[in-house]
Symmetry: C2
Subunit: 147 residues, 2 copies
DNA sequence: ACCTTTATGAAAGAAGTCTTTAAGTGAGCA
DNA sequence: TGCTCACTTAAAGACTTCTTTCATAAAGGT
């Protein structure tokens, strides 16, 4: 996409006036971008097992260089997946479980079909009986306690 | 990444022998890649509201060209987010809610710290009392019913 | 002050994503 | 058979992401 700023820069949000921004999709896309890479998923996996760890320890354990670790850490922070904290000359990172939970439940809300139905019933295919008739059939808003 | 094959091609899985593949990270990264783009999130959002819809209807509603729709549909299929079905000369698409739920719970399992602890307790930071002491503190394996 | 350790930043190049235009495929209809 | 509709695929180019190498900053020990 476009964002190149210094960490908290978001593409869509930054340009459009607040009232017109899609909001949800922009933020969620940034969030999932943080997870859309094997290296970053490895980092997340490690941090999930260990609560908090020194940046260089994680880098060494995953066998990646220091600048590379730093790059991915930046994306992870921007995505709201990881928090970092300086202590002396070391930096510790850990999962931002609150933000993670918020984004996940925003996503499940999206899956549940929240928002205006758009091309609702009128634009359904001919053979339209795949799912049994239920007001909003599938996804449920369970999971808000995923932290 | 690398995958360019004809839709179901996955990078890591395809090359390494089955027993040695990282599995989780590779698949999850592909899955999240499908969600890491505003256009695709819009498609997913629409499909969540409507169960099933003609490809061209979704494209028109989102104001994107047909090839562009097709491109994103391919990534969505590869990510296990969307299923398509041909009927006559029209193609209908819908969310693959089973696959979505599987991937989401794989992710929450990862967040819960499943797998060997790696650099576990020995590598924790000095001021280590951010979270109250609980066996595996945060994320819970709730959500398997997210379809 | 100097030196060491650790983290971040910048630049450059390879690789990947995304979009458009144009061509190809499959299914229905004349 | 030919024509049209509804999609998919190919090719090319613009733009991003990712990685490496080199340089800078920040903190602490000597």
């Amino acid at each position: 996409m476009s964002r190149v700023g210094s960490d908290r820069a978001r593409p869509t949000r930054q340009i459009l006036p607040l009232a017109l921004t899609p909001l949800v999709e922009g933020d969620l896309a940034t969030y999932f971008e943080g997870l859309a890479n094997p290296t970053r998923l490895h980092i997340v996996e490690r941090l999930a097992q260990v609560k908090e760890a020194r940046v260089s320890d994680v880098a060494m354990l995953l066998g990646i260089s220091q600048p590379r670790m730093s790059w991915h850490l930046r994306l992870l922070r921007r995505a709201g997946l990881v928090l970092t904290r300086r202590e002396g000359r070391e930096v510790f990172c850990r999962l931002d479980r609150t933000s993670i939970a918020e984004n996940l439940s925003a996503f499940t809300a999206l899956l549940a079909g929240d928002g205006q139905p758009g091309l609702a019933e009128s634009r359904l295919g001919p053979a339209e009986t795949i799912n049994p008739p239920s007001p909003r059939h599938g996804v449920e808003r369970s999971l808000p306690e995923v932290i």
